[in-house]
């Protein structure tokens, strides 16, 4: 993974000093809250329902074991012993103290971490495929370009006061695990007819109040033009994005209002002026960054080690876990292991300091010291020898990180919701917990098959409900928590936004509604259809009918 040199380190150290000064000025009264708020947001510090919340950046979801141990320490020392992994591959701490935040950032800087631009109207954490580097269908490791973009976008003097937040995602594979189509800019690596690798550039995707699937503005962008093209897009957005209305200030609104053709023309005209200039990315620099993401020292393994096969036969629980939580690796004898942060009835995405420390140890022991964070709020060990899987699994069971539910209905994605978030209208976590307990039977979960349930506590959609196979949006109806259900969303290369199924359900009824939806699917599915396939075949009507039949 990327390692800081003295330049990277100087920048984070100077940032810590700057923020320390800003906090001191705030406490002394030299800065009002209105003046201070954008500054603290640009260091990931929110004022939430109960305390300050700090969102620490995990660039493209990649962590070293040392960094994960530091996060455990932060949770222990400065918080209440846990952290929450988010839908943008970051981590959040919920009980933070303003005056301690500069110290927290200083500690993070000692392990090459920070909270820079994890909030605010600037370019946020660039997210990428959590299987980067190990997925069989990968063309190039998207983290190479995510790191290049990270540096270009950090403290960019022109783009630090944008109309609104700006989110970029990169996929290096045709199967998009990074949800590029619902980002402000999505970059999808692919090859042109000449076999050259480059990017499809998509703009204007997003969730929230007005969910939109991104539009392709350039089908193929050679790698060397990556930064100049991004600069052109951001410049157009910075100049023309609306600043008068908070709800109409994302780039998706701009693309929609001028039309994708006109928007593309504006970008291309600007780009013609700046391409081939100082932002052109030399091949040597790409190779230099690629060197940081070189494969680890794999050993030559048999792809079907005898022990592993025997354990599969002997221990059906192990076999069940392999089936759901282990993904094929491009290297023989290795496997990708997803650690479920979704225990039955648990809080999706939360991990205790003890769990984080333990996972760091397991990463060192079994996966070359590296951990990934997914935007579905799980962790991944990407390079586990198959012959180590059984021992790893046993340890994960002890740690409650082995629930065999990845990609299944128990693998629920939920934002913090009204329990934590000042923006929320309803709680999301208790709904996730109740659904998870209701569907707790692991055999049943397997039978239901792939089903992504995503829950947001408000219209800002941090739970990504628009792209849930079943999406749940918490709303406030006359002071009561109600839940609107959508069906058929998807965040992958065949992205779609969910359809609202009908009137919202009360907190008491929403779990039953989910059950009815699942039962409807089970009744009519054909062949090996997943829920999403069935939905796309039969549409909303059969579900709507069953759900509202009583009325």
């Amino acid at each position: 993974m990327y390692r800081y040199d003295n330049y990277d380190q100087t920048l984070v150290d100077e940032r810590v000093a700057q923020f320390r000064g800003q906090v001191a000025r705030r406490v002394a009264g030299d800065l009002t809250e209105d003046e201070f708020k954008p500054l603290r947001l640009m260091n990931g510090l929110y004022l939430q329902l109960h305390a300050y919340m700090l969102r620490v950046a995990i660039p493209y979801g990649t962590l070293s074991s040392k960094q994960l141990r530091k996060l455990a320490h932060i949770a222990r020392r400065y918080d209440k012993g846990y952290g929450h992994f988010t839908t943008r591959q970051n981590i959040q701490f919920n009980w933070i103290n303003l005056e301690e935040t500069p110290d927290i950032l200083a500690e993070l800087a000692t392990v090459e971490m920070h909270a820079i631009q994890t909030s605010g109207n600037c370019i946020r954490n660039v997210t990428a495929d959590h299987f980067a580097g190990v997925a069989a269908d990968e063309i190039e490791d998207p983290r190479i370009y995510s790191e290049i973009i990270r540096q270009w976008s950090t403290f960019h003097p022109e783009f630090s006061f944008l109309p609104r937040k700006f989110k970029i995602a990169v996929t290096g594979s045709p199967h998009d695990r990074a949800a590029v189509k619902v980002h402000d800019i999505g970059l999808r690596m692919h090859r042109n007819e000449a076999g050259e690798a480059g990017f499809e550039v998509l703009v204007g995707g997003g969730q929230g109040r007005t969910p939109v699937i991104a539009k392709t503005i350039r089908p193929f962008l050679p790698k060397r033009h990556l930064l100049s093209y991004l600069e052109a897009i951001l410049r157009i957005y910075n100049q023309l994005g609306r600043r008068d209305n908070l709800y109409k200030s994302r780039i998706k609104i701009l693309v929609d209002s001028v039309g994708v053709d006109r928007f593309t023309q504006l970008v291309e005209e600007e780009w013609q002026q700046i391409r081939d200039g100082y932002l052109e990315l030399p091949a040597a620099e790409i190779e230099r960054i690629r060197g940081y993401f070189a494969p680890p020292p794999y050993r030559a393994f048999d792809d079907k080690p005898a022990d592993f096969e025997a354990q599969l036969r002997r221990d059906f629980r192990f076999g069940r876990w392999v089936r759901t939580n282990v993904t094929p690796h491009k290297r023989p004898g290795y496997a990708i292991v997803t650690l479920s942060l979704k225990p039955v009835g648990g809080i999706p995405g939360d991990a205790t300091d003890a769990q984080m420390d333990a996972v760091a140890d397991l990463a060192d022991r079994y996966s070359f010291g590296e951990i990934r964070v997914t935007h579905e709020q799980n962790l991944v060990l990407t390079d586990v020898a198959k012959s180590d899987l059984y021992a790893l699994w046993q340890r994960l069971v002890e740690l409650e990180l082995a629930t065999p539910n990845i990609g299944l209905a128990g693998d629920i994605i939920a934002c913090p919701g009204l329990d934590y978030c000042a923006l929320a209208n309803a709680r999301s976590i208790p709904v996730a917990q109740r659904i998870s307990r209701q569907l707790g039977d692991l055999t049943r979960l397997l039978d239901i098959g792939e089903l992504k349930i995503k829950i947001s506590g408000c219209i800002n959609a941090c739970g990504h409900h628009h792209v849930g196979h079943i999406g749940i949006l918490g709303v406030d109806k006359k002071g009561e928590e109600f839940y609107q259900v959508t069906l058929g969303g998807s965040a992958d290369e065949n992205a779609s936004l969910g359809d609202i199924v009908g009137p919202a359900f009360s907190a008491d009824n929403v779990v039953g509604a989910v059950e009815t939806i699942i039962d409807t699917y089970l009744t009519v599915r054909q062949g090996g259809e997943r829920f999403l396939d069935t939905y796309r075949r039969i549409g909303l009507a059969p579900f709507k009918e069953k759900l509202y039949a009583a009325h």
Partner: protein
Amino acid sequence: MPLIRTTGPVEDPWTTLKDEDPLPADGAIIVTLARWQANRDALLARPGPLGIFLKSDQPPSLIAADIERFDVIALNFPKFTNGRAYSSARLLRERYGYRGELRAVGNVLRDQLQFMLRCGFDSFEVSATADVATWLKAFRDFSLAYQPATDARTPVTALRQRPASARRIDHDEEDAPPARRSDDDAAVEASVVCAGYWAY
């Protein structure tokens, strides 16, 4: 409102005219775009330098053809969160070749000064209550920049090309020397606008 440059507070010889103010016979005046467009000939006929004030929604392309006429261009930040003028500044400098004084006015806050400087501003109208001595330090909040911008600062990407200037950080090394800034930056800052990103 006090005017500062990176060197410190400066006298402001310019008078900013409201549209309804009569044109003084001479002296340095800054007028709005509307006034410039309505009274171009009269303004050009005056002795005395001319400046123009652009609102955040007035793109620099509107004055590109006349860039030589202005000795100062004032770009407005109506609210500090409105960052349009950062782009306008860069375009004025890099696209239209403007070499005069580029002034940041409006809601200008201390923590933005370095961003503004990097985008090509060279004078800053700051709040009357600003403690100028401490505000000046903000121009040097960061000794490095990752990306090239309008200022002549060599970006980190180019610094890395120089032999032996970039080192991996090893935090386990108790005696590792502290990170240092490249000595060449001061010389570079005096030179060409927009140093190369990768190869200086």
